[in-house]
Symmetry: C2
Subunit: 552 residues, 2 copies
């Protein structure tokens, strides 16, 4: 019988996003979450980023199940790729009802995959997956029905917090299972894997209940329409808008595809309580008096394709923002989105709207634990080994510092990066090997075909465009037979560039005409060199120079 | 005699950056500041952005002078373009000694411009420029020797705060001129133009003095080298590092071109007090014991070309970051730079350094007033009209709300955008016209030649690259004479794309071969359409398709 448990993070360590963690015990493997990451600004043209599944490629027959902590994209978004590529669609997925509903809806957009096998459990329930006993632990987060995990094998109990905060007064539901966490801690926890997102933030993350008075103030003061933008998955916030609207005699309409889809699933599962008549169609709402309407919409992260950005641009098909509108951004920008969010806010102001956003009002709280909550998690569970997860290196290190303050020995804290294999026994932990991990880019229908080479090409093109030279070579003599024809894009504004391209062609020709019979590769290199130098001299820019040799 | 003063913002309103404001009275014009803005993420390949000088183009003979509030790039960086393009180099520049020194150094990099005429005045001094009486007002900011302006004409006094905070205990210098501001307020202020950058931040911006104990803690605890990254212009911070190093028995070395240049100017002007032996050359410092060294460097905004990013990447020529190093980011990310700063922090952690940055420690404070200071400025100056400046629309609106809370009538508050001409008399203010304004892009040696068309091309290229088709046409028959030759970059990784390009050429050829004798333009359009469709079907990507028709 084996006596080592291997933890293998394939995503989410050293980054915020694409969370995926393997538990391996003997021949049995379970996958915890399989998420996507949104691209950074210099991942040119990339739609989403997924984990490298390479470690699993020859071990699919050993995967006993996929265990999901909650339904956010950075935890479930890579399932269509994982199931489409490495694991059979029959691989059982263990999830809470809301996460299961969101996964079903997502996978239905990939009909070629077939129907998944989803097993639904609630917080507090346990089940066996291969060699693992798994228990769903009640926590609170910015989506309902999120759970932490207690995963038991013969080496001991590992607690994975999932994404969590400790909210004593959540909008709906019973709140975190403090006593169960304490009980597990008293029984002995081998290792804690805890959410590090908020590790740089002192104090406690406020309760969702903080939002209610802010909404009341806004609803009391607004004389026109109220438009609240938030995450479609932040169902408690949608509930709070519905509740505030009820108190202030307004109806609520929903705008944005994902908002409609998510709230529909949530209503069916009882995660959204909608009094009769409280919700109306958007078209109906737009015919009511402005001071009777509140609209909940997507796009609070400034995403250009989402409803709020289209309202800001004036391209939304149904909603035209106007003076008198009060627009609430009930969110804060995810790091990297600040510029886009600021742009949307500014454009809404330019349309005459009154725009309210944090920190001007308490209209958002984080879904992640701050330092004092992270300490409480450590204090309740009293782990022997500690692995901060879900964060960039900066967050993992900050979380590691907290653990040291809480008395965890430095050598028992493991700041891991993706691909590090941590082997745990009853009384030891060590990194034993590294397995491939990294960013797999999804671009259009291509998964993994875009790598550093193409990314560098896009970077050069983004910065200074390209110049293409078509160089005619006489098939008879092998000599360049005339001036190259030049085409450029993204380099200069051609209608106002005067004779620049003509002079560039002359320069290339002046080099090529004296070359005599020349090998094709040499023609290409000389043309590239002449043109690169010419354009740098003339413009101080460095376009990509591409040369095509033709017969003529 | 005229009795109207015109205020014409050409930059800095509706944005953070490229500050430039004209005062026009009769035939006399003065320019207040002429700054650059750093490009946003979707300003592909742009180096810097400058204001549109169009309004001044036919009025250069009426410009009596350029008045500079302080030496930051967003206030002086556009001077080489303004003086090189619109105004004669002889136009007098009025500045404090440090700003003057920085301007001289900057203009010396553009020797073709000739030698500028700079007139130096200190805070508290006044001078006449054409019809304007100008007084430099003492304020505090994140660069020494910054001033506000009192500008007097026969219609009244206008106060322009410059960039300011109210720091009662600055590291050096006498602090803001509260009593003079109060005196001006008591005498009557027609209009206040006040820095809006911090208008979303409640409370007071802490004093620079807050940094000292944080530095002391870091210097006490560090066992290896200390590397502090900050802005080269934040000379008080450099002073604080020098002072802390003195207290903790370390010498200081400077790294980074702009750090060396700025501190040299500041030392000559007495803005930096360096005890003998406190400062050593970087090469010398690197041969001393690690615990005797502190290095001050640039790159705290994550700029890839600056010293700190090169240390993080392992490409700095002199400094190799190693375990034991303590690295302090004594700054916060300017909005838009969060991703780059996070990346540098993470990479420094990956090299084993201990990285300290806000909010983990009090190692930075803002140079801009928060809401309570902005209220104090309003309370001291008691203006009749209020124009929030230096901010995005969101900041201007937030500042406008504060002014209303302070009792300024809503109709006396002007939220202006660049190009709005505000006409002031002794007892009225109104926007009378709009003049062209906007972003002029500097890219390499080109100023203003890159506009929306080229920007769109770069965007397409950045996202999906391009495909070029060279289509041979028989000069005899006018028919396409063979399969097009295809070249692509930034679209797919060619070595692993199989027969994709071959099939694309076949597809285009299948359309072209049946076309018979065809006009060149029609050949181009059909090829573009066939290839665009092919690549979207095959890859769900939308590369730019460029077609060149050759004879052959």
């Amino acid at each position: 019988m084996t006596n080592t448990l291997r933890l293998i993070p394939l995503g989410g360590l050293g980054e915020i996003g694409k969370n995926m963690l393997l538990f391996e015990f003997g021949r049995d493997i379970i996958v915890v979450d399989a998420g996507i990451m949104f691209p950074e600004h210099d991942m040119w043209g990339i739609d989403v980023v997924i984990p490298d599944f390479g470690y699993l490629r020859d071990k699919a027959d050993r995967v006993r199940g996929i265990v999901i902590t909650h339904g956010h994209e950075d935890h479930v978004g890579a399932l269509p790729y994982l199931l489409g590529d490495v694991l059979p669609i029959a691989t059982p997925i263990y999830a809470t009802p809301l996460a299961a509903g969101l996964i079903e809806a997502k996978l239905s957009e990939f009909p070629a995959l077939g129907k998944p096998t989803i097993r639904r459990f609630k917080a507090g329930e346990g089940f066996r997956v291969g060699a693992f006993e798994v228990e769903f632990l009640a926590i609170t987060h910015s989506i309902p029905d999120g759970v932490g995990l207690a995963i038991r094998t013969s080496v001991g109990t590992v607690i994975h917090t999932g994404d969590f905060k400790f909210d004593y007064t959540p909008v709906r539901g019973g709140g975190p299972g403090f006593s169960r966490l304490g009980q597990l801690g008293a029984q002995g926890v081998l290792a804690l894997l805890s959410d590090s997102t908020g590790a740089e933030r002192a104090g406690y993350t406020p309760s969702e209940a903080l939002i209610e008075p802010a909404f009341d103030t806004i609803f009391r003061e607004a004389t026109g329409r109220i438009i609240v933008a938030t995450f479609a998955s932040l169902l408690s916030r949608v509930q709070q808008v519905i509740d505030a609207a009820q108190r202030h005699n307004r109806v609520v309409a929903l705008a944005g595809y994902s908002m409609l889809k998510t709230t529909e699933i949530a209503r069916q599962l009882g995660h959204l309580q909608v009094p009769s008549g409280a919700l109306v169609e958007l078209n109906e709402a737009l015919h009511l008096p402005d001071d009777r309407v509140a609209i909940v919409t997507t796009g609070s992260q400034g995403q250009p394709e989402a409803a709020l950005a289209r309202m800001a641009e004036g391209t939304h098909r149904q909603i035209e923002v106007k003076p008198g509108d009060t627009i609430v951004l009930s969110s804060t920008p995810i790091p990297g989105n600040e510029e886009e969010v600021a742009r949307v806010i500014n454009k809404l102001f330019a349309r005459g709207a009154n725009v309210i956003y944090p920190p001007l009002a308490n209209v958002h709280v984080s879904g992640h634990a701050s330092q004092e909550e992270q300490k409480l998690m450590l204090a309740l569970t009293r782990p022997r080994f500690f692995v901060p997860v879900h964060g960039e290196l900066r967050h993992l290190h900050a979380h590691g510092r907290l653990a040291r303050q809480m008395g965890v020995a430095a050598e028992n804290i493991f700041i891991l990066e993706n691909g590090a294999v941590l082997e745990l026994t009853r009384d030891s932990a060590q990194v034993v090997e590294r397995t491939p991990s990294g960013n797999i880019f999804v671009d259009g229908s291509g998964v993994g075909d875009i790598g550093p080479a193409v990314m560098r090409e896009r970077e050069v093109l983004a910065r200074d465009g390209f110049v293409l030279a078509v160089v005619p070579v006489s098939p008879a003599t092998g000599e360049v037979s005339g001036k190259p024809e030049l085409v450029s894009r993204g380099l200069v504004y051609l209608p106002e560039s005067g004779d620049l391209m003509e002079r560039a062609a002359e320069r290339a020709w002046s080099v090529l005409r004296v070359a005599g019979k020349t090998k094709r590769q040499a023609i290409i290199e000389r043309t590239q060199e002449a043109l690169s130098r010419f354009f740098f001299e003339e413009t101080k820019r460095k376009p990509m120079v591409v040369v095509v040799v033709t017969e003529g």
